[in-house]
């Protein structure tokens, strides 16, 4: 966060004089960074650029002799397909609803963890358990609990006369996927929010209390504004994660389910089932663009909120 502060504050300052020593230190810094940069280029930049290159080709492993340059036509195919847009909608729905619920529950959990007088360590550890469970295992647990076909207890307990995981009940399919996501990642949200809570100075609360502010007012007028950067970081992390959702949907839909298909599952189908590397890479690159867009909007959002806090605008 300090880097953000520096860059936003930079234009106000005069350019300082660069001494020889600073120069040498900068050079050393580059040398020290070099190994990490090289590794990052090899494992991140190369695959991203390669998949971008593939997305411009007709490259299908089933037709090795038909490899040819097709320019942006794969992007045209994806963007003009109603399937892509309905999958973007499915993914957005899961993302928005699950992140919203996680934020509310995570905040409640963070407040409990923050205010707990005794057993603080125990509460924090036990709250984190769902996050420590492998997503696939968690998704299986939820599927077995909810699937009437394998004798799950939930449909019986709720008196349902249908199978909530059956593809003819998309509403319930979403309920189960979203609940799984919420159960699994609320602790992560809570932990990030807890870090933000500890930054709120206790004196402000005391001063407000003396002035007669109720607990509700103090929460909305003091805690929330001061936590805004922490909330935005938590939301950013979770939104990016949720948008790329794959494993829990894959397990819970148990085979293709067109109404529950997310963009990552679409990419998986094209790449790994149909081996159409060109078209599949175009899907992957578009997912990357959407994720980058989400990140950009959030970062812009919390850049301005930081500036507001310091009273710069």
């Amino acid at each position: 966060m300090s880097t953000v502060a520096e860059t936003t504050a930079a234009p106000a300052r005069k350019t300082p004089k660069v001494t020889d020593r600073t120069k040498a230190e900068r050079k050393l810094a580059w040398w020290l960074c070099a190994p990490a940069v090289i590794v990052m280029l090899a494992v991140t930049a190369y695959p991203i650029l390669y998949s971008f290159y593939l997305s411009l080709l007709r490259a299908d492993l089933r037709f090795p002799n038909d490899r040819s340059w097709v320019g942006l036509s794969n992007y045209g195919t994806v963007l003009s397909s109603s399937l892509w847009w309905s999958d973007v909608w499915h993914t957005t729905l899961i993302t928005v609803v699950s992140v919203a619920i996680e934020l509310v529950l995570g905040m409640a959990l963070a407040l409990v963890m923050h205010r707990a007088l005794f057993g603080r360590g125990l509460i924090r550890t036990s709250a984190l358990i769902p996050y420590g469970i492998v997503t696939v295992v968690a998704a299986f647990a939820w599927r077995f609990a909810w699937s009437a076909a394998v004798g799950g207890f939930v449909p019986k307990a709720l008196g349902m006369d249908f199978d909530p995981l059956d593809p003819t009940h998309p509403f319930w399919n979403y309920v189960v996927v979203i609940l799984t996501e919420v159960w699994k990642t609320t602790p992560f949200m809570a932990l990030l929010l807890l870090a933000g809570l500890t930054l709120v100075p206790e004196e402000l609360h005391e001063a407000a209390r003396v002035d007669g502010a109720s607990a509700w007012q103090r929460f909305w007028r003091i805690t929330i504004p001061l936590m805004k950067p922490a909330i935005l970081v938590a939301l950013l992390f979770r939104t990016l994660d949720a948008f790329r959702i794959f494993d829990s949907v894959f397990i819970i839909s148990n085979g293709p389910n067109a109404k529950l298909e997310t963009v990552s599952i679409l990419g998986y189908n094209v790449l790994l089932n149909r081996l159409n590397l060109g078209l599949g890479s175009a899907v992957s690159v578009l997912i990357f663009v959407l994720v980058a867009l989400i990140a950009f909007l959030f970062v812009k959002g919390f850049g301005t909120s930081l500036a507001q806090q310091r009273g710069e605008t």
């Binding site: 089933r62 037709f63 195919t77 397909s81 059956d166 593809p167 089932n273």
Partner: protein
């Protein structure tokens, strides 16, 4: 000797032939591998590698390796619908003429057609498969001959029809058989040939799905869920492969006593049914280091003795015509004659290298069966299929 066995690929010992095939539960492939190793006189040793039991996952495991030119796949146990795709991509080798002629000798024409692509033999049919109508003879007086009769009878008896309705290959098998029974086809080469019969097929699927005879979980049912529902005793009809017969024998002897079979239902009296055809073919990997031994081992794995054991122990219908008159087989497999008859006129699924795309397009269009819009169905599916055969569309 044990040294030679470990370093199977070295020139001194026997060549190690890796066979990749689904995990056949009765162990008949394992026995065949051992018999072929012994019979080779030290020229090769067959090692079985188990793939998943779900066709889609088997294909994924195989194609990922083959697309990377993996030389450790000497023999692939291929579902009958993969031949065109694997052959066109160069993932399996064409059979040399003399060996091809040996394979063709005595093999039923239906299974042989599934191993052929553009007139050339690319695999040796290992076992075939077809679906029958299984019913309870204590509840059903005369088995239905058409889909309409089946739905009527099941509705009157207040029971369910067990059939594959989930969005996967199984529902494509059903749709394809219905279309071909109505004297139509779906795709020929790169031409979409779906017409009026497609609508007839969709109407039957939709009618079944909306009738009280539909299983409430039709949209998520695969072959095994069908088997379990029939074995539970509440469903009197089941459309499924013969593996359900030995299974009922061990699981539920009481129901097995009353379990009978009839031909796959037809569209109407004028159009006899074209039943589904399934099964496994042995293909020789395109990048194997031991092609000669691999061809020999593949031919051995489907010889009379090995196919017979697979049929009796594993319930897998043979591809060799002579076995259908074998008394030992008929005893364990009383419906052998019916299977042979159905295989002769069976509905082969579309032969195209883009089968994965075509299959996905069909599965999405016909499952869940209750959501089929019969009126607009044909045009919509024709549109997606036109893109699917070119393998360049998002499906």
């Amino acid at each position: 000797m044990w040294l030679a066995a470990c370093g199977g690929s070295s020139s001194s010992g026997p060549a190690n032939i890796n066979v990749w095939v689904f995990n056949e539960p009765s162990g008949s492939f394992k026995d065949a591998a051992k018999r072929c190793t012994d019979a080779s006189g030290g020229r090769y040793k067959v090692t079985l590698n188990a793939l998943s039991n779900q066709a889609d996952q088997q294909r994924q495991s195989l194609v990922r390796r083959l697309a990377a030119k993996d030389s450790s796949i000497d023999i692939a146990g291929m579902d009958v619908v993969w031949t065109a795709e694997f052959a066109a991509a160069g993932w399996i080798k064409e059979w040399p003429t003399n060996l091809a002629n040996e394979v063709k000798q005595g093999t039923l024409p239906g299974p042989l057609a599934t191993a052929t692509y553009q007139g050339k033999l690319y695999a040796a049919p290992a076992n075939s498969n077809t679906q029958l109508l299984w019913y309870r003879k204590d509840k059903v007086s005369s088995p239905p001959k058409t889909w309409a009769e089946l739905i009527d009878q099941a509705t009157k008896l207040k029971t369910h029809i067990e059939i594959q309705g989930a969005q996967y290959e199984g529902v494509v098998v059903w749709f394809n058989s219905l279309v071909q029974s109505a004297a139509g086809t779906i795709v020929k080469g790169t031409q979409v040939t779906l017409g009026q019969p497609g609508e007839q097929a969709a109407a039957i699927m939709s009618k079944l799905a909306h009738s009280p005879a539909a299983d409430p979980s039709l949209a998520s049912q695969h072959e095994d869920e069908n088997r379990l529902a029939f074995e539970a005793g509440s469903s009197y009809f089941e459309i499924n492969y013969p593996f359900v017969y030995p299974s009922a024998k061990t699981d539920v002897p009481k129901i097995f006593k009353n379990m009978a079979w009839a031909p796959y239902p037809g569209i109407d009296a004028a159009h006899p049914a074209k039943a589904p055809i399934g099964g496994i073919n042995w293909g020789v990997g395109g990048y194997t280091k031991h092609p000669t031994e691999a061809f020999q081992a593949a031919a051995c794995m489907r010889n009379e003795e090995n196919e017979k054991e697979a049929a009796i122990k594993g319930g897998l219908p043979p591809t060799l015509e002579s076995l259908y008159s074998d008394p030992g087989l008929i005893k364990a497999y009383p419906f052998a004659a019916l299977i042979k008859k159905q295989l002769a006129t069976a509905a082969v699924r579309p032969v195209t290298p883009a089968y994965a795309d075509v299959s996905l397009a069909i599965a999405k269009a016909v499952s869940p069966p209750s959501s089929i819009d019969v009126g607009g169905f044909q045009n919509a599916l024709r549109g997606t299929l036109k893109d699917a055969v070119k393998s360049q569309a998002l499906i």
